[in-house]
Symmetry: C2
Subunit: 292 residues, 2 copies
Amino acid sequence: MIGVYDSGYGGLTVLRELQKELPDVDFVFLGDSGRAPYGGRDAHAILDLAESCVERLFEEGCRLVVVACHTVSCVGLRHLQQHYSNDNRRILGVTIPAAEAAVARHPRAVAWLGTTRTVHSRTYEVEIHKLDPALPVHGIAAPLLAPLVEEGLGNGTDAEGAQLTRLAVRRYLRHLPAETDCLVLGCTHYPLLSEAFQAELAPHIHLLDPAPVVARALSDWLRRHPEFQETGTGSLRVLCSGDPQVFQRQGSRFLGRELPTVQHISEESGRLAHRSGPQVPQGQVVREFRKF
Amino acid sequence: MIGVYDSGYGGLTVLRELQKELPDVDFVFLGDSGRAPYGGRDAHAILDLAESCVERLFEEGCRLVVVACHTVSCVGLRHLQQHYSNDNRRILGVTIPAAEAAVARHPRAVAWLGTTRTVHSRTYEVEIHKLDPALPVHGIAAPLLAPLVEEGLGNGTDAEGAQLTRLAVRRYLRHLPAETDCLVLGCTHYPLLSEAFQAELAPHIHLLDPAPVVARALSDWLRRHPEFQETGTGSLRVLCSGDPQVFQRQGSRFLGRELPTVQHISEESGRLAHRSGPQVPQGQVVREFRKF
């Protein structure tokens, strides 16, 4: 069983590609939607969140966890690997496969679009420069794009929503250096804005979606690590820390098909607890006091 | 010393009015920017966040805390009051003063714009119906508006940004019932979009910003509770859980003037710790493992 972790729904665009590439593998997806978005948060707050999610996936019985979130992958992957990886447990991210795929195209210059935290980390620059130290790399923080996708705008038939999205995309692409010929979508939400990108990008600029690249990289990794290979039935469980009904509804747009029943997991003292707490969505909420 | 708590920068629009109304009072503002935005999160997650922030303000020596955030005020004010209020400590919110001000205008119908969680709580409906059970009340969740403000769009000279903002505002105002003649800005970010609202709203619809209303309500409350009156020097301290440089830069737009030096506070096991942790904004972050 392979765990896939994301801050919210976005990682389902990665899961979709993983399932295509590895149809017999059983997956558990954990979307931390109750504490999302991560993109504007402190580095240490992101480590706290990531620890609790990765621990929960290991407790679910996963031996391998794919961090589908670019923000976590850029900021905290090394931390997670140093503290949780051993002979029986591994954690893989999305940044290195994406950097490899970008460099393999021999571009003149690469640009990277992501959350504020992803771009500020400069991790993609580090990873690309390990492979090609002279390649110009430019990061663009695009904090409006994920909220636009979550609001249901982007690809689709809503003309006014499409106009709003194109304006926002145009605003960010204005910062593209002139020589750029490869643009990496460094956030799992952005594939749902592909129509706006295609409309606003010059035709010679290649739009790189890391999701299928990550799926092929995982498949290669499993061939090189047969001890982590498992054959299942292609099952899928989905856990989330936010509202499971909302997750189920929103998630289908990202996965490209209906989700199975989504299980709610609660947060307790900063960790994701096992008890499935009651959802109390309406009105003032008063609870018994917990001492920390 | 009065504490003012918000999920991020937005509450500075409330603080501005409080300082105008009470120029001699000393204030401590706590913006939980490292864990913002709250608007899409679980009710119980919001209680966790609010507890830690309110506790920190009491530890700072405040006896009175104003919850400037509409999301916390709608979801968790009663919880906070039940657990922390006593003869020496009080917690006040923004929802009841805003509801009173709306009803006092004798409108035909009230609409309320806010975050998803604020609107789903239906707390404003409850509070308005306590005062006028027959008044139609309509909530509109507008999750894109706060991110637009945080991105620096809205009021100002950026024509393209203004167009983007107006499109988003128009999209949400389309849901206004026809008889609406009072629109409450139920999020502390929205006063920075006043130009877009004025451009898109029919002229007979009154735009109600709760911030000055809350300031007058606090002033009245202090007159009725002289034991909580304090005369200070009009000083201001600002604490935040996110990046203090960003907070300082962003915050001045909300406060309408420069902020004093912003102090960073860290999160530890879900509480806001006293130690001022080092900011590690770039690259992969690896830290010693903490057992919970």
